[in-house]
């Protein structure tokens, strides 16, 4: 392929897609500024709630002090800033239902490739706007955090955040592909949202549960993919997961990424075949 500026290359078309998506995001400026700030409001309540809880419970619950729990909540928010994909699955399902998906059958664009670029654009714009509020809140809440972790922990933390993004993307994309088989997926997505909220450790550190449930459920908690969307990176940062457990966890996360990447691709191709078979 030619690399002159006049000929569209893989890179330049990617850039155009990316840029258009950024522009589209910026149109809704009101949502943007307000939405980002408001996301931190529940943290305030969490601080007060857990202060009240620890007043009653004393020093630590399953290895988490009050400060650990609050730092944990803040870190899960960071984790979800990477892994959450608002509107991705429902968007895909909606495109299938409305027939807009045809354009990916007709035009030489790969659906997953396009969506991933769009998502990266959305996320980058989000980070550009959210970095300020995030930094401010983390600085204000600095006292709740333990001392800076060491280098390897940092690497593991960042790695699991990035893999969290990819995992979140392909997991939701796979869910959206279900729309090829069932037209109405909104209730399914709602259940996924509930499961995600619970199993990703967004409600509380998963250790709280591990120690109070039967062993089979505890091991389910340890193997399931949703923990990597919020719980795992946060626990890694706080030093709750160390040694062999840490590397096993990262390997498991990588395995889930590969699994959902493959599933999303296979589902997309099967879905295309099914879709064209039915004649749209």
């Amino acid at each position: 392929m030619s690399s002159t500026t006049t000929n569209p290359t893989g890179f330049s078309s990617a850039w155009i897609i990316f840029r258009t998506c950024v522009e589209e995001r910026l149109v809704y400026r009101g949502d943007f500024a307000l939405g980002t700030l408001m996301r931190f409001l529940p943290i305030i309540t969490q601080i007060f709630l857990w202060t009240a809880v620890y007043t009653a419970a004393g020093g630590s619950i399953n290895g988490y002090t009050r400060n650990d729990v609050i730092a944990y909540y803040l870190l899960t928010m960071l984790g979800r800033a990477f892994s959450s994909m608002p509107g991705l699955a429902s968007g895909i399902a909606g495109q299938i239902r409305s027939g807009e998906i045809k354009k990916f059958l007709i035009q030489p664009i790969d659906l997953l490739h396009y969506l991933l670029l769009a998502r990266v654009a959305h996320k980058l714009v989000y980070y550009a706007v959210a970095a300020g509020p995030f930094a401010l809140v983390f600085w204000l809440c600095g006292d709740y955090f333990p001392p800076w972790p060491d280098g390897p922990t940092w690497v593991a933390f960042l790695l699991s955040l990035l893999m969290g993004f990819v995992l979140g993307f392909f997991l939701e994309a796979t869910l959206g592909m279900i729309g090829f088989w069932f037209l109405e997926v909104s209730s399914l997505l709602f259940f996924y949202m509930l499961a995600n909220f619970f199993f990703s450790g967004h409600m509380f550190p998963l250790e709280f549960l591990t120690n109070s449930v039967p062993p089979w459920f505890a091991s389910l908690l340890w193997f399931q993919p949703l923990q990597f969307l919020a719980y795992f990176p946060s626990a890694v940062y706080l030093g709750k997961i160390t040694g062999p457990e840490l590397w096993q966890g990262l390997a498991l996360q990588a395995a889930w990424v590969v699994f959902f990447y493959t599933t999303a691709r296979v589902a997309m191709h099967r879905g295309y075949n099914r879709y064209s078979g039915f004649g749209g």
Partner: protein, 283 residues
């Protein structure tokens, strides 16, 4: 006019009836929605039960666990109250508030403006989502379970005041919601509205006693009681039922009535302003 007294109640009945007919034509959807909001509530309840379990584990045997002075049965009444107010909001007001900005976008609001009835009434109550009421019944069960375990059983007055203050809570929430929805006429989109609603009312879902201990806590407690009275919404009815009546608390109960009235008047004003802007801004 004689018939005008009954006009609005009759309309309300027709709105509710039409929504129920619609819900029933999508029966599986109805059941799924009812079930999923139940799951959501069970998860929330489970969270607090887990927290109480953790407190009990760390305490000496025989000690009573509490969060900010709310013992487990009292806290269950508090959660049930939250469920009742939320389910009523979600059943009757949320669908309409969410649709308002959609009406603005599609121009459907034009039709609402043409009707010879109060526009705020029409757009606030047109649709209801009956499936959201499933939590209402779960909340009643929860109250039936929790009340016998309360340290101090509720008096007759408590039982009478509880529904009144539930109503006040719902009306305050409605006022805030319709004000927010009306501002979507200016903003043009409603996702922010929904987020804002969620994050602000999130403060109201906890006992007000947890907001203390520092300037921020006191500020939040006072601000969300006297400026934007969302702490009154759940706390007053929950306490009326779950805890013995104290004179210090009577003041707050009286204030709740005043706050309800002011909230209604204020939201009416915001709504009218927003409508005026719609009528001069759109094509």
């Amino acid at each position: 006019m004689k018939d005008s007294v009954w006009l609005y109640p009759k309309l309300l009945w027709t709105f509710a009836r039409n929504s129920l007919i619609r819900d029933m034509t999508f029966r599986s959807n109805f059941l799924i929605e009812a079930f999923s909001s139940l799951v959501w509530m069970v998860m929330n309840l489970g969270f607090y039960l887990l927290v109480f379990l953790k407190i009990e584990e760390s305490q000496a045997a025989g000690a009573t666990a509490d969060i900010a002075g709310w013992e487990k049965p009292e806290f269950l009444v508090f959660i049930a109250t939250t469920m009742i107010v939320n389910s009523v909001m979600q059943a009757f007001f949320m669908p309409n508030a969410q649709e308002l900005s959609e009406l603005v976008r599609t121009g459907g609001l034009d039709f609402a403006l043409l009707k010879p009835i109060d526009t705020q009434f029409l757009v606030s109550l047109r649709k209801s989502s009956w499936s959201s009421l499933s939590n209402f019944f779960v909340a009643l069960l929860l109250i039936a379970y929790a009340v016998p375990h309360l340290p101090a059983p509720p008096s007759l007055a408590s039982w009478l005041l509880y529904p009144l203050y539930l109503l006040c809570g719902v009306l305050i929430m409605y006022s805030i919601m319709i004000s927010l929805a009306a501002t979507s006429i200016w903003l043009g989109r409603n996702q922010t509205l929904y987020d804002f609603w969620f994050y602000i009312t999130n403060f109201s879902r906890y006992p007000m006693e947890i907001y203390q201990g520092n300037v921020l806590g006191d500020g939040l407690r006072l601000g969300f009681t006297y400026v934007l009275p969302i702490l009154v919404v759940i706390n007053v009815p929950a306490r009326v039922l779950a805890k013995p009546f104290t004179p210090e608390y009577a003041g707050l109960a009286i204030f709740a009535l005043v706050a309800t009235a002011l909230a209604l008047v204020g939201s009416r004003w915001v709504f009218q302003k927003a409508l005026a802007s719609y009528r001069s801004a759109s094509s």
